[in-house]
């Protein structure tokens, strides 16, 4: 399966322990370009996770290296990043995978444990 932009489904899977931060960053950039600090605050607001600077930039450099995000020109030292078409495709595929897993887990919980 390939997404609309041609990114392979498992692109984010190759990020290992950085798949989590990478997903959060791509999700944050999905509604527009942001620089490092704005990304940190946005991720903290929607996911309750504070990305530490070293972790954030490790993930950013990997995402940029894979062509999933790109840096924009800036007049000051805070350089914003935006999602590329390949990044949007990879994020969509990854979130769909996660949703499938979540759906299965919730369905089995509802059957076996009576939870909803």
């Amino acid at each position: 399966m390939t997404d609309v932009a041609g990114a392979k489904d498992n692109t984010l899977g190759t990020f290992g322990r950085y798949a989590g931060p990478a997903t959060l960053i791509l999700s944050s950039l999905a509604d527009g370009p942001k620089h490092g600090y704005a990304l940190t605050k946005d991720v903290e607001a929607f996911a309750g996770v504070r990305l530490a600077p070293g972790t954030l930039y490790e993930a950013l450099s990997r995402l940029e290296g894979q062509g999933l995000i790109e840096a924009l020109d800036s007049d000051d030292r805070r350089r914003p990043y935006r999602l590329t078409a390949a990044g949007a495709g990879a994020l969509k595929a990854h979130l769909n995978d996660q949703r499938r897993v979540a759906d299965v887990g919730l369905r089995r919980l509802a059957t076996g444990w009576g939870a909803s």
Binding site: G36, Y37, A52, G54, Y57, S61, G65, R77
Partner: protein
């Protein structure tokens, strides 16, 4: 206040390699300043930056899962493998030279020690041949670039490598005369390798010694010998840094890349055999007194060699993975 925060950010930024700082330094500093304003002190944050910086350095050395551009990944892997091999040989040859000195006086009685030493000697020979085979085309490529006037960027690392090699060779040749196996003893020259080779190896690796932990005994050494124990590792570092720098900066042909990657893979096999021989000796002799006594320095050397082998294999594996995609 701002000046202090800038200085703190600059200190934290030093964890990262120069190439990373050139690309991300400004924006990362801005992020750190914003973080400082919100939370002035955080050990967790400092630890995260340190870990990120070390990871970026490992990535630059071609040792992480974060792939570089293919030809850069191969060059990084080869340079790292060369550094690992140098560390391996520094400790391994020091150990081997000590044993061959012993064999000049009497052959070891334990079969396992004899087998171990023969394995180490064969592996050392293989590694020497591989190093020569690796250096020759590199030297030709570098010389070609210099002759054509297109290798100004190679002058620095080449000069460093040649200076280190000359100091190491001349100094080792000079100090090999103090080798305990020389002096015309009737038992001399009955060893596993020619006495001159053992003597040169002993002198070149004189700095790998447990005497550093015994300053009183070290003080009894001739001043020139102690000076050599300080200078020789510096010369080795200069040689290795120069070679690694040349590897990183040289314009490689895909064919040469594959050839060097193959040699480095073969070197990893030689290192494994050498290490197995060393383990064989240490296990056979233990702390038994005598010419082939294994001390704490030898156990430490084996540990360093194991680590160097692990790093070399990892770097080589990643270089191989990228070699097909290079250029």
């Amino acid at each position: 206040m701002i000046g202090g925060a800038e200085r703190r950010a600059a200190r934290l930024l030093r964890w990262y390699p120069p190439t990373w700082r050139a690309r991300y330094g400004d924006e990362f500093t801005e992020l750190l300043l914003a973080e400082f304003a919100e939370r002035p002190r955080s050990w967790r944050r400092a630890g995260d930056v340190a870990r990120g910086g070390l990871l970026a350095r490992l990535t630059g050395a071609g040792l992480t899962g974060h792939e570089l551009e293919p030809s850069e990944q191969v060059r990084a892997g080869l340079a790292t493998a060369v550094c690992s091999l140098a560390a391996f040989l520094a400790f391994g040859i020091a150990m081997w030279a000590q044993l061959t000195v012993g064999w000049e006086w009497a052959a070891p009685s334990a079969t396992a020690t004899r087998v171990g030493m023969v394995a180490m000697s064969a592996a050392a020979l293989l590694l020497t041949v591989l190093v020569v085979l690796a250096v020759l085309p590199l030297a030709v490529a570098a010389a070609g670039g210099i002759v054509r006037g297109r290798a100004r960027h190679l002058h620095g690392p080449l000069l460093l490598a040649v200076a280190g090699a000359v100091v190491l060779a001349v100094g080792s040749h000079h100090f090999q005369n103090a080798w305990p196996g020389t002096g015309g003893h009737s038992w001399a020259q009955q060893g596993l390798v020619p006495g001159g080779v053992a003597a040169f190896s002993w002198a070149a690796t004189l700095s790998v010694s447990s005497y550093w932990a015994h300053p009183a005994a070290l003080a009894a050494f001739p001043a020139a010998e102690v000076a050599w124990m300080v200078v020789s590792p510096l010369a080795l570092v200069a040689l290795v840094v120069g070679v690694a720098g040349t590897i990183r900066r040289l314009d490689w042909s895909p064919r040469l890349l594959r050839y060097e990657a193959w040699l480095v893979s073969a070197a990893a096999v030689g290192m494994t055999v050498f290490l197995a021989g060393g383990c064989c000796w240490v296990l056979a002799e233990g702390s038994r007194p005598g010419l082939f006594h294994a001390g704490a320095i030898d156990v430490v050397s084996l540990a360093v060699m194991m680590l160097a082998l692990f790093v070399a294999r990892r770097a080589t594996g990643r270089a191989w993975k990228s070699v097909q995609g290079a250029h």
